[in-house]
Amino acid sequence: MAFGFRLARPLSLNNRVMLFVALAISLSLVVIGHLVQKSVEQHFAEQDADELVVISRAVAEALKKTTRSGRSADETLPHAVSGHHGVYYQVWDESGALVYGPDEVVFPPRARFNAPVDAIRAENLVSWHIDDKSYRGAMTQVQIDGRNYLITAAINMDFHMRFLEHFSRNLWLIMALAGGLTILAAWYGVHQGHAPLRALSESIRSVQADQLDMRLNEKAVPMELQPLVASFNQMISRLDDSFTRLSHFSADIAHELRTPLTNLATQTQVGLGQARTLEEYRELLYSNLEEQERLTKMVNDMLWLAQRENGLLKPNWELLDLRQEVEATFEFFEALAEDKKITLAVGGDRVNVMADRSMLRRVISNLLSNALRYTPENETINVTVEGVGNQAQITIENPGQGIPEDHLPKLFDRFYRVDPSRQRQSEGAGLGLAIVKSIIEAHDGNVEVSSEMGTTRFVISLPTHDKKAG
């Protein structure tokens, strides 16, 4: 747990999604607001341009009439434009002298207008401020009777500006409100979207050690969570399995230890109950010794298994001829097999593997002694050594009663015995096959058992390291 504090916790799913959503919404609202504002401004500018065109034309018309009629400009021009409010204009002649201009100061110096434009458009308007008022204007040139005049027209923009100001305030207010609401809705949506996750966490929390048979319903969660639920169920299943095995194992150990301990205590107490002959005491001691030997062997085997599982026993690797090892183990069992009138037969190829000699012999020996126990008289135990791909296989087959299928998966469990009555005298402690499995796993191999038509078959697969000699 100290870990959790040291490592930076990744951003919460909620915040992660919300950060992205808020960013996207804000960005799109800002862009939309800008576009709307720009287009409204553009629209006003075009309107202004249109009006300026009308004014310029009217002024030009009035100017034409003035020169033709010979009247003074001051007389005619002030009335050139009627029905327009906040409209101003100036007229210059060729020499640059002001022909007409309004009384108030409205226009900036003429230089602001650069050159006269051919046609007034929104793009070529000039805007300025004088006395806290905003104006927009344009300069055009007209030719009347061979003389050039420059007309500058302007309109007061204050009204537009006020409207625009008001409009954009409202616009951004609405945008901010809409943004806030959308983000809030999105947050709620995301929160709701995580509801199945919280529900799942709640159900997982309710799983106790004593109800490991419980499974979460895969159909009751959204598609995205199904793999999670499936993995969780698999994990629970494995835990359940280990738990069951562990508790069986403890019970089995207790049982296995209790029997010889009871024997020891009982026979010693009975023996001491009254005076006996020397021979009887000796017999008692021998009997005790036998029980103690059984206990010792069991403890040693269990210790061996525990050490093996904790990685304390490393195989002492050497290159071994599998068939030779099988034959050596046959020599060991020769007398016993002959005694039981059972034939031991080996066949197959010469396959070399890297393995621990002592461990490998223990495997073959355990499987052979197992086979010898269940094979009837005058039958044959067949051992085959083969190279299959990059695997070496040892198959040990023996005829007999066979093993019921439901026992097969548990056969390699410690203390597991097919016969529940546990005939202690004829069998070992029930650790032989557990040791086989442990050794084979230490060799990165695999051991399988099958039983059909009265034939029991153990197949050991080991990775080969040298195929030249195969």
Binding site: L285, Y286, L289, E290, E293, T296, K297, V299, N300, D301, L303, Q307, L312, L313, K314, A328, T329, E331, F332, F333, E334, A335, L336, E338, D339, S358, R361, R362, S365, N366, S369, L372, E427, G428, A429, G432
Partner: protein, 226 residues
């Protein structure tokens, strides 16, 4: 033969002393590492049996000290721990053998005898004779009362082992290891069957019986009849 046993477990120490004394050894027992260390450094022993786990001076310290002082007597370690590291460490420090508790006394006795034999010059004879049993080692042939006895290769090896260690009780695990190179406890009665078959060839129709079962311990080959 003088043996030093350093063992802090009272019962174990007592029984080791009694058992080894009855097997014909002169046994000195030290109940702690300090005494053991002192005895090992001041007196001469033919073999030392040391417990690895001692509360004061551990078995490893003792073996280190005596090896540094030039003593070459074989050392047998007893330990409750059985890990490769311990084994390697013990052997590196100069131990000669290693026995993990719980062990059978017969096994200990056999190992002690092996170690003692190793430290004396090995007898390289071509022939072993026990009563009227003659083993011709180079030819792998056995004769009893002048008659040739047909033995398989492993049967001969078994007989040779028993004969070489005449009078010693050999535990089953030692027989399996020496004759068949099976270095683990097998839960089968293979050795018993093999001995029975050998006995039927060697002893049936001959007197005195040579192969004896020592119940709870193992087998021995000897002339004297119990």
């Amino acid at each position: 033969m003088r043996l030093l046993v350093v063992e802090d477990e009272v019962k174990t120490g007592d029984y080791l002393q009694q058992g080894l004394s009855e097997a014909g050894f002169m046994v000195t027992l030290a109940r702690n590492g300090l005494d053991g260390h002192h005895l090992a450094m001041t007196e001469t022993f033919d073999l030392l049996i040391l417990d690895v786990m001692l509360p004061d001076v551990g078995g490893w310290r003792i073996v280190q000290s005596i090896r540094e002082s030039g003593c070459q007597a074989p050392v047998l370690f007893l330990t409750a721990r059985d890990s490769v590291d311990d084994r390697v460490k013990g052997l590196e420090l100069g131990a000669d053998d290693y026995l993990v508790k719980p062990f059978a006394f017969a096994e200990l006795l056999a190992r002690v005898r092996t170690l003692l034999r190793r430290s004396t010059a090995p007898v390289l004879a071509d022939q072993i004779t026990v009563a009227d049993l003659i083993l011709d080692l180079p030819k792998h042939r056995a004769l009893r009362g002048g008659r040739k006895i047909n033995l398989s290769h492993k049967e001969f090896c078994l007989l040779e082992l028993l004969a070489r260690r005449q009078g010693e009780v050999l535990p089953r695990s030692l027989i399996a290891s020496q004759v068949w190179d099976m270095n683990f406890d097998s839960d089968t009665n293979v050795i018993d069957v093999a001995i029975r078959r050998l006995r039927s060839k060697i002893d049936e129709g001959f007197e005195p019986k040579l192969i004896h079962t020592v119940r709870g311990m193992g087998y021995k080959l000897d002339v004297e009849d119990e």
